[in-house]
């Protein structure tokens, strides 16, 4: 079942990358085109080393691309001054807090640097995240440290949040707290979130758009339900000389023996009938989880790239 979704009246890009490439000694980010629409949550999924952090660092102006253009909140990144970064909140797991200082010290510190700091919101977050103002950073668990870092970023009320693996290593309860806080943020439609993970589960629940990245390339981009509707795993019984009919996006996953497993990335009603007509007996046609789809898309991308 496919449903046409009325396009939003005006699409404003909160950030856009066009033809961005950057070559490192052992890694190449290849021709990345990415548009982040205002008011949306965007998930970036990729295996470790896929290029997620590199993309985010380029958007933050921490790295310069060899070619291509980057604009964030309506300005080209190259001409951005420190002042303009006020409106961006960047989170990365390698950010450090002062071990011997308290949570409250950090709140005070960031507050003194950013005039847009929202103290009431900071206090709300403190209690929602279950953090204790007087506690020293040394005594915080990993999850508490991540939540503390996020609090320091969120309370500045940035227009664009760029979060590099914010839920990495969080227990399921803390993860849920973070995800639900992110969704509260985009109930204001002028705020935008881009966040990355190597775990589909972190991303699928709240993302309007999910982008799969592998080996420095964007391999697929869609919303969760659309991914789920387009992909199928189909099992058929077919004689040894059977030729799969020419159905766009149909690939063999395993061709051993009479039972064949196929994956399809452009499912349409009637595909099963066409397979039956080609002389195969349909055993099943199943939907796949986003994780399975992600893995299948990565594998396809790699095969195509190696041809």
């Amino acid at each position: 079942m496919s449903i046409a979704i009325a396009p939003p009246h005006t699409k404003t890009a909160a950030a856009a990358l066009r033809g961005v490439a950057r070559t490192f000694k052992h890694f190449r980010l290849d021709n990345i085109d990415l548009e982040i629409e205002q008011g949306t949550v965007n998930g970036l999924i990729g295996p470790n080393g896929a290029g997620k952090s590199t993309i985010m660092r380029i958007m933050m102006g921490l790295l310069t691309p060899d070619t291509g253009t980057v604009s964030v909140l309506g300005q080209p990144i190259s001409s951005r001054e420190a002042g303009a970064k006020r409106d961006i909140g960047f989170f990365s797991d390698d950010m450090r807090l002062y071990k011997s200082e308290t949570v409250a010290f950090h709140l005070q510190f960031v507050r003194s640097l950013f005039p847009g700091w929202d103290e009431a919101y900071a206090q709300q977050l403190l209690s929602r995240f279950g953090l204790i103002a007087g506690q020293k950073v040394r005594g915080l668990s990993h999850g508490q440290r991540v939540k503390c870092l996020l609090l320091l970023i969120l309370a500045r009320r940035p227009k664009l949040l760029i979060l590099d693996e914010p839920t990495n290593g969080l227990d399921p309860v803390a993860r849920q707290e973070v995800l639900s806080e992110l969704m509260q943020i985009v109930s204001d439609e002028t705020r935008t979130i881009l966040y990355s993970s190597h775990n589909t589960q972190d991303v699928e629940q709240i993302s309007d758009t999910i982008t799969f990245i592998d080996r420095g390339r964007v391999i697929a981009r869609n919303n969760r339900d659309e991914f789920l509707e387009r992909w199928r795993r189909i099992r058929v019984q077919a004689p040894a000389n059977w030729q799969a009919p020419a159905i766009a996006g149909l690939r063999p996953e395993s061709t051993f023996g009479n039972l064949r497993v196929l994956t399809l990335d452009r499912y349409q009603a009637g595909v099963e009938d066409r397979l039956q007509l080609s002389g195969a007996t349909l055993e099943s046609s199943e939907t796949m989880s986003l994780e399975e789809i992600f893995v299948a898309a990565v594998m396809r991308g790699r095969e195509e790239n190696e041809l």
Partner: protein, 144 residues
């Protein structure tokens, strides 16, 4: 089961839990939202004229993407369960045309699946008809 606790998100309306989504449900999330709102309307929990939360609000409350709720509302509007006025939000329709279209489509796909399983088992058409009739009779007995 811890899995259940972690994967279920609920939304409260007037302090009552009214939508519960499950991640272990293989269906698309927007379909779960549609189904639960339709049920609530069908059993009278949401009488005609009830204001529904805005798309962004419901998305925030359920911690699911805005596009999920947008799609659910669009489909509910199409089947006549709710009506949306620009700038005024969505309300439960006065005469909710209870969603025959979606239920019909669902029935269609279940019937196809049953036919497929039947053919795998080598059942004849008459045998399949007999089984269907039996299932209907069983349901009637249970409902009495």
């Amino acid at each position: 089961m811890t899995g259940e606790f972690l994967c279920v998100y609920t939304v409260y309306m007037n302090k009552h839990r009214w939508i519960t989504l499950s991640q272990s449900d293989p269906r698309a999330l927007y379909l779960q939202v549609i189904e639960q709102i339709r049920r609530r309307v069908a059993v009278g929990d949401l009488p005609p004229g009830t204001e529904l939360p805005s798309i962004r609000q419901l998305a925030a409350d359920l911690s699911v993407s805005v596009i999920t709720i947008k799609r659910a509302y669009l489909e509910l509007e199409r089947d006549g369960t709710i009506t949306t006025r620009q700038g005024k939000g969505s309300v439960v329709a006065e005469k909710p045309g209870l969603s025959t279209a979606i239920t019909q489509r669902e029935l269609e796909s279940h019937l196809n699946a049953a036919a497929q399983l039947g053919s795998l088992l080598g059942l004849s058409k008459t045998e399949m008809q007999r089984r269907m009739a039996e299932a209907c009779e069983n349901l009637q007995r249970k409902q009495k």
